[in-house]
């Protein structure tokens, strides 16, 4: 087996070499995706269940396409409309699915640590597709892949992660990955949405002024305001947030140099990003989605070996 870990629970468990291996492998899968026959037989003896306890469009479709392009057999499970609503526990649900001979589980759950819990209790390989506010490793990998593709590398690049850092698993995974790959990281947003320990724990810069953050960075990774995870008032209104932290054309033009804009989706247009920025040539957003399939193919492929 080529990766140092059996599961992909978080960027935390990956080494620098693991990340390089995944990005390099994804590059070859991206090539496969450009061909007329966009499919390889690598996982034709592997059965994968996509276990989604939380809503998802991009990640779920992206994993599903990646699995199909690798010729795996797949089962889609979403919590709504299943026996989960009748009170079945996570472990029971998964054990029942596993007795149907499943090799890998791709899992999204609103509880932090749910995939780690499964990894301890069941024999299948677990891939975390987002757990609570903890990690979303494949998103960070595809972000890194997209930056590397455009800028040639990650080392020494200045990446600003902007917006709702506190509730963002994308931010957590990105910070850890970029740090391992030697990039410089800044988080920017309203003080109420940035955990103070980040500077100490990860050595990231903290900036509360959007203009200064944009002035500093090569790439701005803009995050969505996660209203569904906020149970207290951390800023007054979306309109006020947008005035202070929304990125629009005029702001980018005032920088006097070009920076790349990324967003993990779904975009709240007019809140954190204006349409004229999201749809411009600076935007990597659709490339991120395209690269997501190649990254997920690489992760599934590399974790599919015998243990």
């Amino acid at each position: 087996m080529q990766l140092s870990t059996r599961h992909l629970l978080g960027i935390r468990d990956l080494s620098h070499t693991d990340i390089e291996t995944i990005l390099d492998t994804a590059l070859q899968f991206k090539d496969v995706l450009q061909r007329p026959i966009k499919k390889v037989p690598s996982l034709r003896d592997v059965t994968i269940v996509n276990l989604f306890y939380e809503n998802s469009t991009r990640t779920r479709i992206s994993f599903e396409i990646a699995e199909k392009r690798l010729s795996a057999d797949i089962i889609n499970f979403s919590a709504s409309g299943s026996s989960v609503s009748k009170g079945e526990t996570l472990l029971d649900t998964v054990n029942n699915i596993l007795s149907m001979k499943v090799d890998m589980v791709v899992m999204r759950h609103n509880a932090t640590g749910a995939p780690h819990f499964l990894a301890r209790h069941i024999p299948a390989t677990i891939i975390n597709a987002g757990d609570g506010i903890n990690e979303h490793p494949t998103q960070a990998l595809l972000d890194a892949f997209s930056i590397r593709e455009r800028l040639g590398g990650l080392e020494g690049r200045k990446i600003a992660i902007i917006g709702d850092i506190m509730h963002s698993r994308v931010a957590m995974s990105n910070i850890q990955l970029l740090k391992k790959m030697g990039a410089e990281i800044m988080v920017a947003g309203p003080p109420t949405l940035i955990p103070k320990h980040l500077q100490e724990a990860f050595g990231v810069r903290i900036e509360y002024d959007l203009q200064k953050a944009l002035q500093w960075c090569d790439v701005a990774n803009v995050l969505r305001i996660q209203l569904e995870r906020q149970n207290q008032v951390l800023f007054s209104t979306l309109r006020e947030y947008s005035l202070a932290y929304g990125i629009h054309r005029r702001l980018l033009d005032s920088l006097g140099r070009e920076i790349l804009i990324m967003h993990p989706g779904p975009i709240n247009r007019g809140v954190e990003l204006d349409s004229d920025v999201a749809d411009s040539g600076h935007s990597l957003i659709l490339e991120q989605v395209e690269n997501g399939v190649a990254i997920r193919m690489a992760v599934l492929y590399l974790l599919s070996g015998k243990t």
Binding site: T25, Q28, D31, V32, P36, I37, Y301, G305
Partner: protein, 176 residues
Amino acid sequence: MSEQRIIMEKAQLELTLKRLTHQLIENHHPFCDTCFIGIQPRGVAVSDFVVGYMRQLHPDLKIDYGRLDITFYRDDIRNRIHLPSETVLPFSIENRKVVLIDDVLYTGRTIRAALDALLDNGRPSRVELCVVVDRLYSRQLPIHPDYVGRSIDSIVTQKVKLYWDEHPRVVLYDSL
């Protein structure tokens, strides 16, 4: 512990590769409906030499040359995950003759995977196989080379490797 024997030295290896090149030229000149494809990673050193020499001999002709990675088509993926190399096919193989070039032909499984990988890129009119070393009597699949540098008898426990560094050579290892 293993004992090693050099079965082809640099001068001999180059001579053999040049002979293979001439055979390919004889059958495929002027190359308009033929393309040459080296199999990643080890066949590429050989195909680089062969196609390079061919271009030297026919500088005025366009010779299509690509590299094919077979990693995702292997039949032993579950036992060991291999890392892929680059596939570069900057031309269409549809309805054309393809010559696959590899270093050592042993069980035939690599070539089986290469055929699958190739067919996912189009439908060639004909596929030929050119190898430097053919390990006789060890095939596990019905695959036969069309151009052979050297045929050798070997047993299962032995290994044959072609090196293409500052001292190009073919080495036979005896496992003890």
